[in-house]
């Protein structure tokens, strides 16, 4: 097998750089926007956050290794920007110790009445998003990254800079809390009777 020594590649042209960025990074624009929207809570801040993320990403694009996980890389940039530029403006820091929150047991509450979770289908999209927005930030972020954007535990751990075990626990509690909020809403709307109080 003859192998020719590989020549040092020329630095990419502007066009190549642009094409690479469009192919690898800009395809994740919807993901970045959805996550930004849930983090900031409003469209104007979400748009600014995404635009700034893309700008920073493009500036350091030459340091990104092609073939590695661009989605995770972009989300990490977005999250750092959010923490540094946006979150500190907020008046209400997270007051509760997340680990003390008892996980809800929604299935146990409704398994007699609606074991197939048919009540979910009656809830409109806006109410689902509103319930997601009510989750503590760390839970909301984990649920978005996993359940909506499809990142693995390992990828989420990297983006959120926590151990994989913490990701699991946040997902468990976040999902159960979200179910609890959706169930409360469905009961308040009369979609389901719910557990006896």
């Amino acid at each position: 097998m003859a192998s020719t020594p590989s020549p040092t590649p020329d630095p990419p042209s502007q066009e190549e750089r642009r094409a690479g960025f469009e192919r690898e990074a800009l395809v994740h624009l919807d993901t970045l926007y959805r996550v930004a929207l849930r983090l900031t809570g409003n469209a104007a801040d979400a748009e600014d956050l995404v635009q700034e993320t893309m700008l920073r990403a493009y500036r350091s694009w030459d340091r990104f290794t092609l073939g590695t996980n661009a989605k995770g890389w972009l989300l990490t940039i977005l999250r750092h920007l959010f923490i540094n530029e946006y979150r500190r403006r907020r008046r209400h820091p997270e007051p509760i110790d997340l680990d003390t929150i008892e996980p809800f047991a929604v299935f146990e509450d409704i398994q007699e009445e609606d074991p197939q979770g048919a009540f979910f289908d009656r809830i409109v999209d806006d109410e689902v998003l509103r319930a997601v927005d009510q989750l503590p930030e760390a839970f909301r972020e984990a649920v978005m990254l996993s359940d909506v954007e499809g990142l693995s535990y390992e990828e989420i751990a990297k983006v959120m800079e926590v151990p994989v075990g913490t990701v699991k626990s946040r997902l468990y509690r976040g999902r159960r809390m979200l179910q609890g909020k959706l169930l409360d809403y469905a009961v308040s709307m009369g979609y389901i009777k719910g557990p006896p109080k």
Partner: protein, 74 residues
């Protein structure tokens, strides 16, 4: 594998985050145990529901245009 262990790892199973061995153990338990099977179906439906309902919105076209302009039109 008992019910407690099975339910404890249900999300990891649904997220395809288990080793093949444990995954098989859980699958066997779910097939043999209707109550755990029911909870599995409920949680699976919930996860599908969250994904469907929270991913309808994408980036506004104007934002995309603004980014393209900012990055490439210089």
């Amino acid at each position: 594998m008992n019910c407690r262990e099975c339910l404890e790892h249900l999300y990891e199973y649904l997220d395809r985050e288990m080793t093949p061995d444990v995954e098989r153990e859980i699958r066997n338990h779910l097939e043999a145990c209707p109550p755990c099977g029911e909870q599995h179906d409920f949680e699976a439906l919930f996860l599908k529901f969250v994904k469907a309902r929270c991913s309808t919105e994408g980036a506004p076209p104007a934002l995309r245009r603004r980014i393209l302009e900012q990055l490439f039109d210089e």
